[in-house]
């Protein structure tokens, strides 16, 4: 499967996003971005026909996380000019007329707000499109999209600077620091390993079956998508899900999946044997980890066929020194390593 590799290829998106994100054509490019991220994240199947298994869950989560992250980053680069500079402040009477002029005036009045909020809103607006939350598959997708975004948000770190009288904290300004995407990818990988199996029959209580908020164009990304539905904010924690459904675990004794959990309802297709139709390579000859209990562990990855253990000599970089800007000097060390390969 190579999930961590796909996470990395998704992490390599910033340049992609830079190339794509041209002002004023956001929608098109976000769609394109989603497509490319998903393509790099899965090389084994067509997304629309693949089963509702945990691999699919991961792809949805990392896609929405990547879109959130990419948009927030692109805002900081100045590559999108629609970032939250014009809509962030609602307490003030809106200046009608030229939108650009209003944006400039609002920047003067209250500055620009955090980019992550904008990324989050754009991700909700575009990644969730088409998922109406009616079928179990759509619910699964919505949940996983939200979980991906949640991980970006949860990894934001707040930093503050005091700049009051004599530099004291009488005036303090804080901002959220965008986490590197590697961190999010790793966390999602952990969630992938511990994804919740939900029951396909239980669609649960459906509060807003006709939740049409995504069908009409939002007036402002923040007011519609952030304030209205921020299910994971503290005060809304009582509400389990923004779309008004609660997924039930497959095993009734397990806890219902939380907002950060990835969910799936179907078992993964066999990755053990080669299946050209689904684009599955099979695990013959794959390296595995004999101490891991996860999918990279030899027990699971080799599908019970057993594994070969070899001792090999590898040459690795060691004792590296780095010279800013662009020079890494390393010794090459010879080490003995034990590797395990699936039969």
């Amino acid at each position: 499967m190579g999930m961590s590799e796909s996470a990395e290829s998704a992490a390599a998106y910033p340049n992609l996003a830079n190339a794509l994100l041209i002002p004023s054509r956001r929608q098109q490019f976000v769609r394109h971005l989603i497509k490319i991220i998903r393509k790099t994240a899965q090389n084994w199947s067509n997304l629309d026909t693949n089963p509702g298994c945990r691999e699919t869950a991961f792809i949805y989560a990392i896609t929405s996380a990547a879109v959130t992250h990419a948009i927030a980053r692109a805002c900081s680069e100045g590559s999108i000019d629609t970032c939250n500079c014009e809509t962030h402040y609602k307490g003030r009477p809106q200046v009608t007329g030229n939108a650009a002029v209003a944006g400039v005036r609002d920047f003067e009045w209250g500055g620009c707000s955090d980019n992550i909020g904008f990324g989050f809103a754009v991700s909700r607006e575009f990644v969730d499109t088409g998922e109406r939350g009616k079928t179990i598959r759509e619910k699964m997708n919505l949940h996983n999209n939200e979980a991906g975004r949640w991980h970006v948000q949860a990894q934001m770190r707040q930093e503050c600077k005091c700049h009051g009288m004599s530099g004291s904290c009488t005036v303090k300004t804080c901002w959220m620091r965008l986490p590197p995407f590697r961190v999010i990818g790793d966390l999602l990988k952990d969630r992938f390993d511990g994804a919740s199996h939900i029951t396909a029959a239980s669609s649960g209580h459906h509060r807003n079956s006709n939740n049409a908020h995504r069908n009409r164009p939002p007036k402002s990304p923040k007011s519609n998508n952030l304030n209205g539905n921020s299910i994971h904010s503290k005060r809304d924690n009582r509400r389990k899900h923004k779309y008004g459904f609660q997924l039930k675990p497959f095993n009734p004794e397990h806890k219902p999946p939380g907002a950060k959990d990835l969910v799936y309802y179907e078992m993964s297709p066999g990755f053990c044997e080669k299946n050209p139709k689904l684009g599955i390579q099979g695990t013959h000859g794959r390296l595995c980890n004999d101490t891991s209990m996860g999918v990279d562990g030899c027990d699971i990855m080799c599908c019970g066929r057993g594994y070969r253990t070899q001792e090999v000599v590898v040459f690795e970089r060691c004792n590296c020194t780095f010279h800013w800007c662009c020079e890494v000097k390393c010794d090459v060390c010879r080490t003995k390593k034990t590797i395990h390969t699936c039969v």
Partner: protein, 556 residues
């Protein structure tokens, strides 16, 4: 009892006054609610550009966003000197407004860990060649060319760490690095600013020798919000003439009396003067003139006001001590011990401020905290100020404690006093209690607002999504409160003199002899009374206990 009638009258007027002030206070708070928060930050990723390092010797050589871009991670360059990090402020097509007042820049480096590198926790000594240029909107559209603003080669320290054990594959994983304050501009006079940063590498001069692979450099720029400045200046513009009016009225009333003003009145009028200086809406001038010293000036304005306020509290407590020294008029000299703590504290803070923000007038990249000597110097000034502040509070608490102790002793002997003397003391106690209450309430509200604003700002604001900006409301609320506090002081000390029944009794104390004190006090309106002066000739009956106490207290 005529006293009760008059007391009721004064109480009613007082409550009207308090109600008016409270409503205006609420008004200040609500005005703050429409303002955005005081300052906003914007994160900007620095554009990495290739530039010829020989061209960099020219100080008028500016690399803009139209440069030849490179990717630091791809190692396309040989020499560190050829790399320029370019940040143009603000982002997008926006431009700064002069209402935004000042600009603070903070750098954040995303460093990358390489496998085979054993550094898990280290301190980077950064050497940053920083140059700042400005540009303005040209009259016929477009922008004027970049013009030199400041240049400096600065050192900064940055802590980085990575927890290799928890990371699955640490190669290429980012370090967690502390932020690096870069510059502070006291004025935001120009429309656009351009920052060119170079990180030169020199093994001999130890420049950037332990810097690791840089993935991204962010600049977090913080500016005041134009909306907040407008509301703030509007409040100042409102308070300034009102305060002038009240001060003139107060001072005229004091001079209409047939005596020289008391110490407390001098203190009150000079406190009003410092508040007036604080209220002076100098910010209007920044809309037309380049005033980089505004940050320093506002520090000094606030500092003078706080110094005066603290001195006032001391004198206020001291003047209510109810101890009669040989009938002499109290003068400021009596408080030299206490006041010197304020002077020392404020002077050391002023020196610190001059060392930091004063030098920033010349070099906006300067920071006193970078060099060990500077850090020690700054710390010693701050510690000195802290020691003086705690000394001051010990003095103040001791004085207030003594006042309360005296009050309770006076209370116990009140029934044995003659009516005039009793009313006199009741008056002092009443005034002190009332003003003390007002002071404590104001101080408590200030502290609570400060904590609230810290909490509000410290919270994960993205999570909270607060509709209203509480921090501005707290700022304006507290600001208004202190203004009203002094209006209240002025009014109260005046109305008190006008209406309070105890004044009438006090006037009797000027009568030459005990025996001429009338049974019913006659009230003369518009007369101010000094409480500090009481005849010290001991009258055998009622004062004996009092004088014995007073002498005891003065021995203490």
């Amino acid at each position: 009892m005529p006293g009760t009638i008059l007391e009721n009258l004064s109480g009613r007027k007082l409550s009207i006054l308090v109600a008016i002030l409270l409503v205006s206070q609420l008004g200040c708070f609500f005005v703050g609610l429409i303002a955005p928060k005081p300052a906003t930050s914007q994160a900007i990723i620095a554009t990495t550009c290739l530039d010829n390092h020989t061209a960099a010797k020219n100080m008028n050589h500016w690399v803009g966003l139209d440069c030849q871009r490179i990717d630091l991670m791809k190692r396309q360059v040989e020499a560190a000197d050829d790399i320029v990090l370019v940040v143009q402020m603000p982002l997008y097509d926006l431009d700064f407004s002069r209402w935004q007042q000042n600009l603070v820049g903070i750098l954040q480096f995303d460093l990358i860990y390489h496998s085979g590198l054993n550094l898990e926790e280290f301190i980077v000594e950064l050497t940053i060649d920083a140059r700042l240029a400005y540009s303005n909107k040209a009259e016929r559209g477009g922008r004027t060319p970049w013009t030199y603003y400041a240049h400096s080669e600065e050192k900064r320290y940055m802590d980085c760490d990575i927890d290799v054990k928890t990371v699955r594959d640490p190669d290429g994983y980012p370090y967690n690095c502390s932020m690096v304050p870069l510059f502070e501009l006291g004025s935001l006079y120009h429309d656009y600013y351009l920052l060119n940063l170079r990180l030169p590498y020199d093994e001999k001069l130890m420049k950037n020798v332990n810097l690791q692979t840089v993935q991204d450099v962010y600049l977090h720029m913080i500016h005041m919000n134009g909306g907040f400045t407008r509301i703030w200046v509007a409040l100042k513009t409102f308070f300034f003439p009102v305060l002038i009016g009240i001060m003139i009225w107060f001072w005229r009333r004091v001079h209409m009396l047939s005596r020289t003003p008391a110490l407390l009145e001098y203190m009150l009028i000079s406190l009003g003067g410092t508040l007036l200086f604080l209220d002076l809406p100098l910010e209007y001038l920044t809309l037309w003139f380049n005033m980089p010293y505004m940050l320093l000036l506002s520090d000094i304005r606030q500092g003078i006001f706080y110094a005066m306020l603290l001195s006032f509290w001391l004198v206020f407590a001291g003047e209510h001590m109810l101890i009669q020294d040989n009938g002499e008029k109290n003068s400021i000299k009596l408080y030299w011990k206490h006041l010197s703590t304020i002077v020392i504290g404020c002077l050391s803070l002023l020196v610190f401020d001059l060392c930091e923000r004063g030098i920033q007038l010349v070099n906006p990249f300067y920071s006193i905290w970078v060099t060990p000597i500077g850090t020690n110097l700054a710390l010693s000034f701050i510690i000195l100020a802290g020691i003086s502040a705690s000394m001051y509070f010990i003095f103040l608490c001791y004085m207030i404690w003594r006042v309360f102790k005296n009050i309770s002793i006076k209370r116990s002997v009140l029934p044995t006093m003659s009516q005039a003397r009793r009313l006199h003391y009741e008056g002092i106690i009443y005034r002190f209690n009332f003003l003390m209450l007002a002071t404590v309430v104001c101080a408590a509200v200030t502290v609570v607002s400060f904590i609230l604003s810290q909490v509000a700002e410290g919270q994960n604001k993205w999570d909270e999504n607060m509709e209203i900006e509480l921090s501005s409301a707290l700022h304006t609320g507290v600001y208004g409160m202190w203004n009203f506090f002094f209006f209240f002081f002025f009014f109260f000390s005046h109305f008190y003199g006008m209406w309070n029944v105890y004044i009438c009794a006090m006037l009797m104390l000027y009568a030459p002899s005990h025996k001429q004190w009338p049974a019913e006090p006659i009230c003369a309106e518009g007369e101010e009374v000094e409480f500090s002066r009481l005849p010290t000739d001991p009258s055998p009956n009622e004062i004996s206990s009092l004088t014995s106490f007073a002498s005891k207290a003065s021995i203490e």
